[in-house]
């Protein structure tokens, strides 16, 4: 190689180096207010969507994110989903060091292609491309560019100005263009004035630009992220769902479309099954009693198997298939129940809902689009509905538990859809009522028996215990009475009243040393059987509001006896608290030389509160915990 070409090579090399530096990606340039409480910062995100027609949407997305530390790595999203209706045409990723020098380039072939089988769904045809990147130093900046095309326009992309807890956004832009006549619509969610987000609207184009949105911190009791983070949703009146065209400008139309295109014709049952249903009904005329029988029939004959293929993600499999196979997913089983009720001429409606125990999430009332991740069945009962969860083989009839309670759902009737709210258990109905007794022995041992009746959401939390193995049952109750060490469970009995939806636990327990013994005295916590101890975390600087999604009510009445030859030296004083968060009361009454009666009520209210109220709430909980751990002292006489 002669000198000249070597020189040329050097120049080429250096210019390559220069090209590869993106100074603007340097992590030192991030404003400090965005790195507080942040493990990653979205430096620049740009999403361009073009609605080409009712069944064609193209997307071009560029995301530049700086990952500040190893916790931020979980916010590095290198995944792209696709399916038979969504095609990824381009994807490229580049990595830059903290100075903005390019470290690495990844092309589509570097991405792994995997099935989204979750081990839960038996049938699932969604797939994913993803990249495994091992960071070599923090911070680093990751750029991902992708383009995809989908024929699904029913569920349009959503734009979020924040991508998760502990992630800030420096600049984020979304631009969507759409043709006339498809009925484009949009909805802004959680647009608090503290977020700097500008909207720009022109004919056929809508643009949002968000700037300098500081990270949200994950804190105990916070509302779900999606209830705090700013977001814009888009929709079309004329849409296409997995190859099925639709048109709906309100819920009524949407429900009608869903019914006509996805439900109708799926509810036929073989003559044999119809005959069986009629036989089962016999002379019964009361629709609720009939429905109870049929619900039991479904619970005994089917099981839940998740199936997610193509339109199957929306369209239930035929009732006749469920009848033959004895399984189906939530849509299939709800629809099967609907078909069985139809044989008895009882109307019922397929219903879409967001299910989840942890947090209630409702459908957005004013945003007509396919929403929800689960299906249940609504059976009219006067002005109200009875809600039927058809995927559970053990749920009582009409009981939703925490899975689908108190949230907006879409009820799909032949004449159209209707948004309504499912039942909420008021805290008073979400109750645990306990009565029992315990005796303290001379060596501070304890023997006791307690009967607890649970209702509402509290029922949901315990009724499955009757199905636990002896080992798991023991584990569960040793955990519930964790305050008593060396606990022996002498007897555990249950009564599950599915009709009243009430679960009764009768427990007999004992332990060799419950109290503390010193110099002829025994000190023991009076509330041995139900002390509250889940006190909320203390925050130096609480940021988020908080909510108590499901309040509860507890009532305990416990008779306590002390050993012969002992006398009471001190009893905790009665206590009473009344706050906006809840109410607490306990009374300790010395009945005679040997017997003490302990009475307690604790009401925790449902509610949403501001961050400023958090400390007060925490103190309320701590006070309750303190009252619940208050001790009595007894001493040996003579």
């Amino acid at each position: 190689m002669d000198m000249k070409s070597l020189l040329l090579l050097c120049i080429a090399f250096f210019s390559l180096q220069l090209n590869a530096q993106k100074l603007e990606y340097a992590s030192a340039l991030i404003p400090k207010e965005l790195t507080d409480n942040a493990n990653a910062v979205v430096r620049y995100n740009e999403e361009n969507y073009t609605v080409n027609s009712q069944n064609s949407l193209s997307a071009k997305v560029t995301t530049v994110i700086t990952i500040l530390n190893e916790y931020g790595l979980r916010n590095l999203n290198t995944q792209l989903y696709y399916s038979p209706t969504t095609r990824i045409s381009r994807v490229e990723a580049r990595v830059y060091d903290k100075m903005g020098y390019q470290l690495k380039v990844f092309k589509k072939k570097d991405f792994r292609d995997v099935s989204l089988a979750d081990g839960f769904s038996v049938f699932n045809d969604d797939r994913m491309l993803y990249l495994d990147y091992t960071p070599i130093a923090y911070p680093f900046t990751f750029v991902m560019e992708s383009e995809y095309h989908t024929s699904n326009t029913a569920q349009m992309p959503r734009w979020s100005a924040l991508s998760g807890y502990f992630v800030s956004t420096e600049k984020d832009v979304v631009r969507i263009s759409y043709p006339d006549g498809l009925g484009f619509g949009f909805k802004e969610v959680n647009f608090d004035p503290k977020f700097d987000i500008a909207r720009q609207q022109e004919t056929g184009t809508l643009t949002y630009t968000a700037r300098n949105i500081a990270a949200l911190k994950r804190e105990e009791g916070s509302p779900e992220f999606h209830k705090m983070s700013p977001m814009v949703c888009f929709r079309l009146d004329k849409f296409s769902l997995e190859g099925v065209d639709g048109h709906a400008s309100d819920w009524k139309e949407f429900g009608k479309w869903y019914h006509d295109r996805l439900l109708s014709g799926t509810d036929e049952l073989p003559e044999e099954t119809q005959a069986k249903v009629r036989e089962l009904i016999g002379q019964e005329k009361d629709p609720i009693k009939i429905a109870r029988k049929l619900y039991q029939y479904v619970q005994d004959r089917t099981r839940y198997v998740s199936i997610q293929v193509g339109i199957g993600g929306y369209k239930p499999m035929k009732a006749a298939d469920v009848d033959r196979l004895g399984y189906g997913d939530c849509k299939a089983l709800s629809n099967y129940m609907r078909a069985l009720l139809a044989v008895a001429d009882i109307p019922s409606y397929f219903t879409l809902v967001y299910a989840g125990d942890d947090s209630r999430r409702g459908l957005m009332r004013d945003f007509v689009s396919p929403q929800g991740n689960h299906a249940i069945l609504a059976m009219p009962n006067g002005d109200d509905y009875i809600w039927l969860e058809c995927t559970s083989q053990v749920n009582p009839f009409g009981f939703q538990g925490m899975f689908t309670d108190g949230r907006e759902v879409l009820v799909i009737k032949p004449e159209g859809g209707e948004i309504t709210k499912t039942r909420t258990f008021a805290e008073q109905h979400n109750s645990r009522l306990a009565s029992g007794n315990f005796a303290i022995a001379e060596d501070s041992g304890i023997t006791g028996a307690v009967v607890t009746r649970s209702k509402g959401a509290a029922y949901d939390a315990v009724y499955r215990n009757e199905r636990l193995s002896p080992k798991d049952k023991e584990k569960f109750y040793k955990n519930s009475y964790a305050n008593i060490s060396n606990l022996k469970l002498d007897k555990i009995e249950f009564r599950n009243d599915r009709e009243k939806v009430e679960f009764t636990e009768a427990i007999q327990l004992s332990a060799p040393a419950y109290g503390n013994v010193s110099t002829g005295r025994i000190m023991f916590a009076v509330n041995a059987l139900n002390p509250y101890s889940e006190t909320p975390k203390r925050y130096r600087n609480r940021q988020n509001p908080f909510e108590v999604e499901r309040g509860f009510f507890e009532q305990d009445e416990i008779a306590i006896s002390i050993p012969d030859g002992f006398a009471v030296e001190a009893l905790p004083s009665d206590a009473s608290l009344k706050t906006k968060f809840g109410e607490y009361e306990c009374k300790i009454v010395k009945q005679d030389d040997k017997n003490i009666l302990y009475k307690r009520t604790f009401l925790m209210k449902d509610g949403s509160y501001s961050s400023a109220e958090y400390d007060e709430y925490r103190q309320f909980c701590e006070q309750v915990a303190r009252f619940d751990s208050a001790k009595a002292v007894i001493y040996k006489k003579g």
């Binding site: 995997v114 089988a117 960071p135 033959r324 040393a513 975390k537 130096r540 701590e622």
Partner: protein, 670 residues
């Protein structure tokens, strides 16, 4: 019980079993009304489902013109007792779809129900079968049996045909539900030698037989010379060795806390291919002793040649060791260089993928690239160093010499008489402080001359934690003070890996949440960049619930916020060893100043607890001063793993310790 003995518990030896006679072949019989109407399993009444029988075989079948392929067949009949057992009516069978495809076929899939006293059969049709492509190499066949209710019996057969005769599937006799009868048959032509290995405490019965197999036939093949299709006659005649392993009434396997890896205890048989005699008479050995396993690994260019490379790091190495005067400093410097530079991609294995040189340039690589690089650098600097093959905790304990016995590689260096283990994949590890995934009994060191030797991976010394508390109880029962806490060795590694990058505010909130009732004030931490140094933290605290004032007495639990509030061992019985991962020691020293106007009425008495065979000790001493109390609580767990025989004494030991640490001091007003 010693470690060796425990390790031995995984291994069962085939030669010890009574040899049953062939001919008592198990015949499943028809599903009966009695079976269908049975409400619960006779010996495990809480079982949600049970395997009535599981009968399978793996044999090498000869197909004219194509040679041998491995066919595994398995028929299962499962009784569903409860709704919670419905998942047993679904099955998922993974198969390889790389270069040469495996094939899976489902057969005779039937659900039996009792309807009005009669047996009703429902067959699985195509609609209940589905193939799912997991990735480029693997797919799974899934089935969901029809018409399943409480009481149903489901039965299905699957057959996997595989060209990969090196990989005979592992067969488990034990499941998460009871198994009434299980049988596995292997049919191996004389050309192949497979060595069986057993796991778990239950031993199968073995029966052996030999059958003569003859295959004659014709294949149409193209004559390469003439280009015409011709008949080629084949005539193969061989002995097939048949072995039948069987077991009856196998109890359900259940997982417990503090268990290393439950698969170590699952009764099963694994087969290792030892050698193949090809049809032309040449015997091709596959690894069957440590020497040949090691040789095979060493000779692989992704191991041996990568280990021999050294040009890529020479300049950096000389800079790294420039300040070091003795071998020990050199070792530290080289280890630090590799650990700081390299970033582990999370991949296991003992072979390099992109190679050490490229990994070095890219600063990222798999475990082999990082640790072989470390060996090469140490050797290059004149320190004796060798790779150590390891089976990680997730891989289970290696039972026999085979390439698959290991899935990871670390480093052993020798300076004088001392041998030091190192793993540079973990930023928080240090010499002789290995990441927890590595701590799995024994590894095997491979020396440059190809010889190899077993290496004990388990930590020898106790990881310490030392806590000093200076605290004060005030007249109204306020309790506050200062804590200084030091973490050593594995405790330091764990502390660093879970807290080093957490910001202080979040860390304090976390500590307050775990130490109930305290508020942390002034906090300080000394965390040396040298990972072998301990971590020290100190803070002042205020405690809301540490003292109870009842009448004219004060009840103080001065250690409550620092120690376990309750015994972690609560279950009555224990089946598997208790795995503490590494031996450890905790020392707490408390100096408590008492309020004026009170005298000590009672003080927790001193105790000295010891577990049998010196497995663990706990010493508690309390002492009165003028207006102070000194308490020292020392806890030692001398072994990393405790055999289940000791469970009762461990449970009792822990209970007494927890009680003592939470015992109250009583003060009385004067």
């Amino acid at each position: 019980m010693t470690k060796q003995f425990l390790a031995g518990a995984f291994l069962a030896c085939a030669g010890l079993f009574p040899i049953a006679l062939l001919g008592q072949k198990f015949l499943p019989g028809k599903v009966t009304v009695e079976q269908l109407s049975q409400k619960r399993h006779p010996s495990d009444t809480s079982a949600a489902a049970a395997v009535l029988f599981k009968k399978g075989s793996t044999r090498l079948e000869y197909k004219g013109g194509q040679g041998f392929s491995m066919v595994t067949e398995c028929t299962q009949r499962i009784k569903i007792y409860k709704k919670d057992g419905y998942e047993w009516a679904n099955a998922s069978i993974p198969f390889y779809t790389g270069s040469d495809n495996e094939k899976v076929a489902i057969d005779d899939a039937v659900t039996y129900n009792l309807v009005d006293g009669k047996i009703e059969k429902t067959k699985l049709k195509r609609e209940g079968e589905f193939i799912e492509k997991s990735n480029k190499f693997w797919s799974r066949k899934k089935i969901a049996m029809p018409g399943v209710r409480e009481g149903s019996i489901v039965e299905f057969t699957y057959r996997i045909t595989s060209p990969y005769f090196q990989n005979m599937p592992d067969w488990s006799f034990q499941q998460a539900i009871p198994v009434d009868y299980v049988e596995y048959e292997t049919g191996i032509p004389e050309y192949f030698v497979y060595q069986p290995h057993f796991k778990g405490s239950l031993q199968p019965q073995v029966a052996v037989n030999s059958i003569r197999r003859k295959h004659e036939g014709k294949n149409r093949v193209k004559n390469m010379r003439t280009g015409h299709m011709e008949d080629e006659v084949y005539n193969v005649d061989f002995q097939e060795q048949v072995k039948i392993y069987s077991m009856q009434n196998v109890p359900a396997l259940n997982d417990e806390g503090f268990v290393n890896n439950i698969s170590n205890y699952t009764s099963s048989v694994l087969h290792e291919l030892a050698s193949v005699r090809e049809l032309n008479g040449v015997i091709r050995p596959y690894a069957n002793d440590w020497g040949s396993v090691v040789r095979t690994i060493y000779d692989n260019s992704d191991f041996g040649s990568e280990l021999a490379r050294n040009g890529y790091f020479e300049t950096d190495l000389s800079v790294a060791v420039s300040g070091a005067i003795d071998p020990s400093q050199k070792l530290q410097a080289i280890y630090k260089t590799v650990k700081d530079r390299m970033n582990w991609d999370g991949m296991y294995g003992y072979y390099c993928d992109k190679g050490v040189k490229k990994a070095y340039q890219e600063k990222a690589g798999n475990v082999a690239e990082i640790n072989l690089m470390l060996v090469a650098m140490l050797r290059s600097a004149g320190i004796k160093a060798n790779p150590v093959l390891v089976s990680t905790r997730s891989n289970g304990v290696s039972l026999y010499p085979a390439l698959s016995s290991y899935n990871y590689v670390i480093v052993q260096a020798e300076i004088g008489d001392s041998k030091i283990l190192m793993d540079a994949t973990d930023k928080w590890a240090s010499p002789d402080i290995l990441p927890v995934r590595d701590l799995n009994w024994f590894g095997r060191v491979i020396r440059a001359d190809g010889s190899s030797e077993i290496v004990d991976l388990m930590p020898k010394s106790k990881s310490r934690e030392i806590v000093n508390v200076m605290a004060k109880v005030e007249a109204k029962g306020k309790y506050n003070g200062q804590v200084r806490r030091q973490y050593f060795d594995h405790n330091a590694m764990n502390f660093r890996s879970s807290n080093a990058t957490l910001n202080e505010e979040s860390y304090l909130e976390k500590v307050e949440k775990s130490h109930k009732g305290i508020a942390l004030l002034a906090y300080k931490r000394e965390m040396d960049a040298d990972m072998s140094k301990p971590v020290t933290e100190s803070f002042t605290f205020e405690h809301d619930n540490g003292v109870e004032v009842i009448g004219d007495r004060m009840y103080i639990s001065p250690l409550t916020f620092l120690v376990l509030a309750r015994n972690p061992f609560r279950q009555e019985k224990r089946d598997y060893p208790i795995d503490f991962v590494y031996p450890h020691q905790e020392k707490i020293n408390l100096n408590l100043t008492l309020p004026d106007g009170y005298v000590i009425e009672s003080l927790p008495a001193a105790v000295n607890l010891a577990m049998p065979d010196n497995l663990g000790t706990f010493r508690f001493v309390s002492q009165k001063g003028e207006n102070t109390i000194q308490i020292a609580a020392n806890y030692d767990m001398n072994e990393a793993v405790i055999a289940p025989d000791y469970y009762d004494s461990l449970k009792d030991f822990y209970q007494k310790m927890v009680d003592k640490q939470n015992e109250k001091i009583v003060l009385k007003k004067i």
